[in-house]
Symmetry: none
DNA sequence: GTGGTCTAGACCACA
DNA sequence: GTGGTCTAGACCACA
C-alpha cells in the first residue's frame, strides 16, 4: 500500500507522511482504519523503526492519525471541510506553483505541459 | 535575474543550479553568455562566495557552464538536441510524475488539476 | 589506506578522489565496502571534514560511491565492463600520453623510457 | 612548434615552460636559437601576453633562455651534462613515479602498461 | 580582475 | 551516529 524509495532525495519519513495524508484526503484510508504497526512497516520496507515512528508522530500531531494505548495507529475523524475538492487542491498547490515556475523558465507552452501532465495522470503508477 | 531564497528548504546552491539549468534550456541564457562573477553574485544576494562557487562548479561538471581561467563563467555550447521541446519536457518529468501521484492519492480529477495548473501558468511569478 | 599529502600541488580532495577511483577500479575496494566516515578520515589526516566531504560528493556524482542516509559512504556496484583491463588502462591513458609527449620532446629512446618505467614499477611505494 | 591547450588543467604558462625545457634538452632547440616574441606567440595562440611573458621569465631564471635587450629571447648555452640521457631521464622521473603509483593502484601488470606505453611512443603526436 | 582550496566552526536533517 | 549546508575569512594560482 505504501511505496518508500530509499534512493529518493525526499526523506523516507516525509514520503510516508505525504502518502498517508493524501490517502486520507482522497478517501482510500477512511476514519477508524488501522495502520500497520511501526515494527511491521519498518520490517516490510527494511527501514529504521525510528523513521516510521517519526512519520506517525508527525501525522498524529497534525490530527490525521490517532494513537490509542496498546492499539495500532488509527485514522482520525475528519475535520470539517477537510476533504472537499478545494481543500485537496490546496494540498498540491505548492507542487503546482513549482511546476509553473519550472515551465516558465524552460519556456514550455501551457499546452505542452498540460498534454504531458494528462499523459502522466492517465498512467497507472 | 536570479532569485535566491535563503529561507527555502532547498539549499541555496541548488536553487541557483536549477535556475541556471532552466534558463539555459529555455534559451534566456544563450551559449557564450557570461554569468555574474562569484563575488558579484555573492555580494548581490548577501551569500557566501563559496555557495555560489559550488553551484557554478556543479554546473560546470554538468557541462552547462565553462570555466576559462581569469574570466567569468560562461554558458557552454549546447549539446545537440539539448534544447528541443522534448528535452525540456524531460527536465520537468520528475515534477510531473510527483504531481500525478499526489493527484491520484488525493482522488482529484484530471480536469480539476489541469484547471488549477493553467491558472498558475497564467500568473506572473 | 589512504595517503594524503597536504604539501602536494594536487588539491587534497583531488588526491582522495584519485585514490578511491583507482582502488575501486583495481579491486582493492569492492562494491559494498564502507569508507571511513567523513569525521574519521578528517581526524586521521588532520584535515577539515569539508575537504573529505567534497571528495566523497564528487565520487558520488561519478557513481563510484553511494550515500545512504545515516550510514557511511559505500562503494557502489560496478557498472558493466568497468573493471576490465581495458577500462583500467583507459584511466591512465592521459598519463601515458603526457609521458610519451615528454619522451619525444626529450628525444629519449623507447627502450630507455621503458627500462626506467619498469624500475619504478618494481619498487614498493 | 608549440602546442598550447587552454582547456587543459595544466596552466598555459606551465605547458609552455615544459615544452621549451624539453625541446632544449632534446636538442630540437639548439643554443642560440631565437624564440618567437611574446607578442607574436600570444597572438598566434590567442593567449594573454602576460602568460607568455611569465613562461619566458621562468625559463630565463632557470638559465634555459637568455634575454638580450632589444632582441628576441634566445636559447642559452647548455650547462655541462645537461643533455646526457641520464639528465633527460631525470626530467621525466616525477611523471614516471606518478604513473607507477597509478598502475599499482589499478592493479595493472607491468607488461600491460609497458605495451600500452610503447604504442603511445610509436604514434606521431 | 577571475575562480579554487582550505580551515574553523556553527547548525541542521536524517536514521 | 551519519553526511550536508553555510558563513567568515585567509591565501593561492592564473590571466
Amino acid at each position: 500500500m505504501f511505496i518508500l524509495n530509499p534512493h529518493s532525495s525526499v526523506p523516507i519519513y516525509q514520503q510516508l507522511v505525504d502518502q498517508v495524508r493524501r490517502l486520507v484526503a482522497g478517501g482510500q484510508l477512511v476514519p477508524g482504519a488501522e495502520l500497520p504497526s511501526v515494527r511491521e512497516m519498518a520490517h516490510e520496507h527494511t527501514v529504521h523503526p525510528m523513521t516510521i515512528s517519526k512519520a506517525y508522530s508527525l501525522l498524529e500531531s497534525e490530527g490525521i492519525l490517532e494513537r490509542h494505548r496498546g492499539k495500532p495507529m488509527r485514522v482520525a475523524a475528519l475535520r470539517r471541510n477537510q476533504s472537499g475538492v478545494a481543500a485537496r487542491l490546496k494540498q498540491i498547490e505548492p507542487q503546482l506553483e513549482a511546476l509553473a515556475l519550472s515551465a516558465r523558465q524552460l519556456e514550455l507552452s501551457s499546452d505542452d505541459i498540460v498534454a504531458q501532465l494528462r499523459k502522466k495522470l492517465g498512467e497507472k503508477p
